[in-house]
């Protein structure tokens, strides 16, 4: 048998066609789903796999999903074996320890695809479900201490058997959710999507022939691997290291260190997390699939943002993580809020890569999931969750972005008007925080201040956030960003800054205000090299205070805000010498 080789352009054309199939699956999933989370926030991804279970085309919306997708079909093949797979069967799982998942709310579904009687690939999708049971509504608490508190663990089981929905499994899952009707609707939407994907994928096999599609899949994987290898080959050989800290995970506990060593030898790259600290007591542990997704994000962002989203990428990277550490926890470690730690892993990887490809990686970003929840009785019981963005790191040629989500997440805020229409709350303040960006030739992005006032009789406040102890780091002489914090009743006699980012069960009365401040980001380069006109502009725009302009940037402004060039030169010169 001769191996089929497909010309490069045909490979790319078939790749586009498979991406279209994944996109159509996404359209079906969004249209048919019940929950806002999938429909509006698009917290879902869809993909096709080849017969060996390798991810070949993914329509991606959320970087973290890459990991779950990649692990899913491998887990299916490992557990069931290809010979057990039947047309008309569809599998479902959400388990981080056995099913390739990263946390329980992300339910994946996968269907083997058959053509001419043979297994030719898989159609799959992932969707974030708004509740899968567990000890808090939303199944996404930061303070659970075991995965058994986090909701229903679904092993790799059949959701559809021989073309009929497995009503027993459906009943099992819906009974374990606080929102059973919504679960039912979203699961059936996922089923419709894998079904569509399967039909379309089989049509492609029919059109081009399976030998051509298989060869094209192999070459697509090879192409992604080569893209990464080309980028890696441009890096000088060596080992690049970095470390940073997660705030203490629970009272009395020490902070957790995240450490990485990236070794480059020719076209090969390996990443070792040796030296990384213990697994956490709370739900911020990162299982293998989440770690791989984070590595994928960081390498792609630093080296080549256009590398196609397929499994070939991983063939070019070796990842080692010590067992029992936060980046390779032993079951049943809790994982719901794993993105808190993924963000720090991304920071550390990028900080190491900053040494490997200087100038192409920004300073440290806010990299915190600043997650707050207000809940309480009103006309009906309400729960308002929100994640507040912060500053993104300054770049080698420009300032950092203010108020954005970074790294493995990119979720929207809820508009103030929508919030106030739905909940007994009012937003008194929503603004950028002056001086929160790290100083530098290029200034760090600013953090956000959001003051929320309770209008109902009483409400409960809980939150988890990081970077309230360890700030985002500056780069190449740039200053660090500010840390985040939560303040109760700011500006009153009973004002109180909460002791850390992980709090729960704080009772608020009518009229009480919680001030949420997210971190700014690190600056890049020597602040004295920043053109004084830009500092004056920042002061005029309230991004930097006049005090900081003088203290940190050595820029003297006149009464009307213009640069006093002579005085500035003297101050900068004196301090450089001093």
């Amino acid at each position: 048998m001769t191996e089929t080789v497909v010309d490069q352009v045909s490979v790319q054309v078939i790749g586009n066609a498979m991406l279209s199939v994944a996109e159509e699956m996404g359209a079906v999933l969004r249209r048919a789903s019940y929950s806002t989370n999938i429909k509006e926030r698009v917290d879902c991804s869809t993909a096709l796999f080849d017969a060996q279970g390798r991810l070949v085309a993914q329509a991606e919306h959320i970087p973290i999903h890459m990991g779950s997708m990649k692990g899913l079909v491998q887990a299916l093949l490992d557990q069931k074996g290809a010979e057990q797979l039947r047309a008309g069967d569809v599998y479902i799982t959400n388990d981080p320890y056995t099913g390739g998942g990263t946390h329980l709310p992300d339910i994946t579904m996968v269907a083997p695809v058959f053509h001419d009687g043979g297994l030719v690939g898989f159609s799959a999708n992932i969707a974030h479900h708004s509740d899968v049971g567990g000890h808090v509504p939303g199944s996404n608490s930061g303070d659970s201490t075991s995965i058994f508190q986090e909701g229903l663990r679904i092993p790799m089981v059949r959701f559809m058997i021989d073309g009929a929905v497995n009503e027993e499994v459906l009943a099992f899952v819906t009974l374990n959710s606080r929102l059973p009707e919504e679960r039912r609707g979203d699961l059936l939407a996922q089923l419709a999507a894998v079904h569509t994907g399967g039909i379309r994928f089989a049509e492609l096999h029919e059109l081009h022939g399976s030998a051509v599609i298989d060869a094209a899949c192999a070459q697509l994987l090879d192409y992604a691997r080569r893209r990464l290898e080309v980028a890696v080959a441009a890096i000088p050989d060596g080992t690049y290291t970095a470390a940073d800290w997660l705030d203490s995970d629970s009272p009395g506990q020490e902070p957790i260190r995240i450490q990485t060593a990236i070794t480059v030898a020719g076209e090969e790259i390996s990443i070792d997390f040796a030296g990384t600290g213990r697994q956490a007591d709370v739900a911020i542990n990162v299982v293998r699939s989440a770690l791989e997704a984070t590595v994928y994000y960081a390498l792609k962002a630093a080296l080549d943002p256009d590398i196609p989203a397929n499994g070939g990428f991983f063939d070019a990277v070796r990842i080692d993580a010590p067992l029992g550490s936060i980046v390779n926890p032993r079951p049943p470690a809790a994982v719901a809020a794993r993105t808190d730690a993924c963000q720090r892993v991304a920071d550390v990887l990028l900080a190491a890569l900053a040494k490997a490809v200087p100038g192409r990686v920004p300073a440290g970003s806010h990299s915190s999931i600043t997650y707050v929840t207000f809940a309480g009785p009103d006309d009906e019981f309400f729960v308002y969750p929100e994640v507040i963005a912060g500053g993104a790191g300054a770049r080698s040629d420009r300032d950092g972005l203010d108020a954005v989500q970074v790294h493995v997440t990119n979720s929207s805020n809820l508009p103030i008007e929508a919030l106030e229409l739905e909940y007994p709350l009012r937003v008194d303040t929503y603004e950028l925080i002056t001086d929160s960006g790290g100083v530098g030739e290029h200034r760090g992005g600013l953090g956000v201040r959001r003051d929320i006032r309770v209008l109902s009789g009483q409400a409960d406040f809980s939150a988890h956030a990081d970077r309230q102890t360890f700030p985002p780091l500056g780069l190449e002489g740039g200053g660090d960003g500010t840390t985040g914090r939560f303040i109760l009743r700011p500006g009153t006699e009973t004002e109180r800054t909460l002791p850390g980012g992980r709090v729960s069960g704080i009772t608020l009365d009518h009229g009480d205000v919680v001030r949420i401040e997210s971190p700014g980001s690190g600056g890049y380069g020597d602040p004295f090299a920043r053109p004084p006109e830009l500092v004056a502009r920042d002061v005029a725009q309230g991004r930097v205070s006049a005090d900081s302009a003088l203290r940190d940037y050595g820029v003297v402004l006149t009464g009307d805000g213009a640069v006093d060039a002579g005085a500035t030169a003297r101050v900068r010169g004196d301090r450089r010498e001093g």
Binding site: A301, D402, S412, V448, Q541
Partner: protein
């Protein structure tokens, strides 16, 4: 009597005149005058009048498409704009929806905030979501911000207060005060420009309106003067993003409604011509130099959107839902370090343009690949007016051939196939997002390059029918001749569709309908029939998306309300596959669509011919490459101007005309209909 449509694009200004007396079209293309688009507009009008042997007095209608607003926003060349915003939330525009612009590109930037932070002024006032006043706006505060605004020297300002969609009183008090005190400042208030909840999108739309307002106003004034100087007895009507026309006064007040109008006239023209040809379900495929616009038309109605983006800014105005991708004739091809071919989104633009155009371009483009393969005339374009340098094209494509390790022709095929594959993905996207199977649709190809690529794009998607209009390169200008007058009036309602709310609902609908009728009375003198239809954006409570459902335009009672609610459940079921018939339904926004139907001119027909094109329609033959399967084939080249109704010919064939080239591949056949459209279909097996 003569009707004129003038469409201004980045490179060319297209003028189409229809002489209703002779039943003939007069078409003229001239270079756009970027610094003042109205110069080319007036010159073009004079030219077609001369061509038609008519005088300015004969002009009864002038439809106009302009990119002045679009360019001002994309090039960030708008006015110095200030923002008056509810105190405490100065950074709604800076923070936006807190998403970063690109998932992986750490050097991507957010679009520049159009109001610098030092021109943002907090105003002490506040409404609750109920509309109740939390903090009263005082006259002293109005006085204070007016003074600050005066001192800052801004040319325009946007007034953006939280919950102003509920009660516009605070915004209008400030607006009135500014009109008295600073009459030369262009003022937009959010409750007028986009009166819907969700502050970032509303504020963004209002700020953009003010940013482009002074620029558009100046243009509209100059245009009016030039049209008057040219002696036309009618003023221009300007196409908006929704595909409807509006007066220059209406556009000067709300220029934001024209921002996405570029492709909308083409869609209107495509929909109209296809309708005459008896085709209601089509996907438009408008391929130009730098981009391709695709739009789904179902049952004669183009898809519409309440909100679209431009340059990264959300714009909350109704528009034809056109999907744009960065692939066009000028898209640059290259080979990356891993051996992968890339085509676009980088474009050679108008300058230097494709290598074949001889304006100094050296990098290979899609156009160069077409020249190399003989699909595009390798000697000249524009009917001989523009020489083509096929050697330069080959030289450029050879760089890709080297990277791929193939022959030049193979590289040119690869460029074409990959470009087609990108465009096919866009065609699939607009159909599957609407839940439609593109294979049931006709692909309508226009723009300079659309008919060159349409058959391959259709084949990639599995579509089997193409329609190529008589003048593909100037379809937008034609669309301007067949557009209706249209505007939309919105108010936020945010109450449940229940008997208790009937009085308020009837009152709100009556107010909107009155507003629509008043607008039509002023705007639609050129229209024969006026109608105002009412719609509601409805949802289940706490959903974050809405569906549009029709409402009676007056006198809702309990039973008609019940049928509205039933209609919503049914539409929800249809659109999403499920409904909650027991759940209440919330009416988020009410919309009145004021529509004035403009009399459509009779489209000229081509004379009838036999089944075979006349001998003089054959310009000659040339070798054209039809891909790996067929290789180079000796292919007849037909003159579009000589084709007659009823002519039929099989591929391979090339049809040339001044503004476009149509490729009919082997296995496809073309017929000419009464209007001169080419209907190209896959041969039955």
């Amino acid at each position: 009597m003569i009707r004129i449509g003038v469409d201004v694009g980045g490179t060319f200004t297209d003028v189409t005149a229809l002489d209703t007396g002779s039943g003939r079209f007069h078409i003229f293309k001239l270079p756009s005058t970027g610094h003042d688009q109205s110069i080319a507009v007036a010159d073009g009008i004079r030219h077609v009048l001369g061509d038609a042997g008519r005088t300015p007095d004969d002009v009864t209608y002038l439809g106009h498409g302009t990119t002045v607003a679009t360019n001002a926003l994309l090039e960030l060349k708008g006015a110095t704009t200030a923002l008056l915003v509810t105190g405490g939330v100065p950074d709604v525009l800076e923070i936006a929806r807190q998403r970063r612009p690109h998932l992986y590109d750490l050097f991507a930037d957010k679009p520049r905030v159009l109001v610098p932070r030092e021109l943002t002024f907090g105003v002490a006032e506040r409404l609750a979501a109920s509309g109740e006043v939390v903090l009263e706006l005082t006259d002293a505060e109005i006085e204070r911000v007016a003074a600050e605004l005066e001192a800052c020297g801004a040319e325009s300002v946007a007034i953006c207060f939280l919950h102003s969609y509920r009660d516009a009183a605070h915004e209008t008090r400030v607006e009135d005060a500014l009109a008295r005190r600073l009459p030369e400042v262009f003022v937009s208030r959010s409750s007028r420009v986009a009166p819907e909840f969700r502050e970032y999108e509303r504020f963004s739309t209002a700020v953009i309106n003010s940013f482009i307002g002074p620029v558009v106003s100046r243009y509209i004034r100059r245009l009016g003067e030039r049209v008057a100087e040219a002696g036309l007895p009618v003023g221009p009507r300007v196409i908006q993003s929704n595909g409807g026309l509006a007066s220059t006064d209406a556009v000067a007040e709300r220029p934001v409604t024209t921002l996405l109008s570029g492709p909308s006239a083409g869609v209107v023209g495509a929909s109209y011509l296809a309708g005459l040809a008896g085709i209601g379900d089509l996907i438009t495929f408008d391929m130009g130099g730098t981009s391709t616009d695709v739009c789904l038309i179902r049952d004669g109605r183009p898809a519409s959107a309440n909100e679209r983006g431009l340059g990264g800014y959300p714009i909350r105005v109704p528009s034809v839902d056109v999907h744009t991708i960065g692939a066009g004739g000028g898209s640059i091809a290259s080979v990356d370090g891993a051996g992968g071919l890339r085509v676009g989104p980088e474009s050679a633009g108008a300058r230097p343009g494709p290598a074949a155009y001889g304006h100094g371009g050296t990098r290979p483009t899609t156009t160069d690949a077409n020249v190399v393969r003989g699909r595009q005339n390798p000697e000249s374009a524009l009917g001989g007016a523009m020489p083509i340098d096929s050697t330069a094209a080959e030289r450029a494509v050879a760089t890709v051939a080297e990277g791929l390790g193939t022959s030049v022709v193979e590289a040119a095929r690869g460029i074409g196939r990959l470009a087609n594959s990108h465009m096919a993905r866009a065609v699939r996207q607009v159909s599957v997002e609407a839940g439609e199977d593109p294979r049931q649709y006709v692909l309508m190809a226009y723009g300079g390059a659309g008919p060159l690529h349409a058959a391959e794009v259709a084949a990639e998607v599995g579509m089997t029918r193409l329609l190529v209009p008589p003048n593909p390169g100037t379809l937008c200008a034609l669309g301007l001749l067949v557009s209706d007058v249209r505007s939309e009036f919105t108010s936020s309602f945010l109450r449940r569709a229940e008997p208790d709310t009937l009085p308020a609902l009837n009152e709100a609908v009556a107010a909107l309908v009155a507003e629509g009728k008043a607008w039509l009375a002023g705007e639609a003198r050129i229209a024969q029939r006026h109608d105002v239809t009412v719609l509601a954006d409805a949802r289940y409570p706490r959903q974050n998306f809405e569906l549009r459902i029709p409402l009676p335009s007056a006198g809702l009672d309990e039973s008609s309300l019940a049928s509205v609610v039933a209609d919503f459940h049914a539409q929800h079921e249809k659109a999403y596959g499920f409904a909650h018939p027991d759940s209440p339904v919330q009416l988020v926004n009410l919309r009145a669509i004021a529509h004035g139907e403009v009399a459509k001119p009779d489209m000229p027909r081509v004379s009838a011919g036999s089944a075979t094109p006349e001998p003089d329609a054959l310009l000659g033959t040339r070798d054209v490459d039809f891909g790996e399967e067929h290789g180079a084939l000796r292919t007849p080249v037909l003159d579009r101007a000589k084709l007659k109704s009823g002519n039929t010919f099989a591929g391979p064939a090339i049809v040339e005309q001044l503004d476009s080239t149509t490729v009919v591949p082997p296995g496809w056949s073309s017929t000419v209909d009464d209007f001169g459209n080419l209907l190209i279909e896959v041969d039955a097996e």
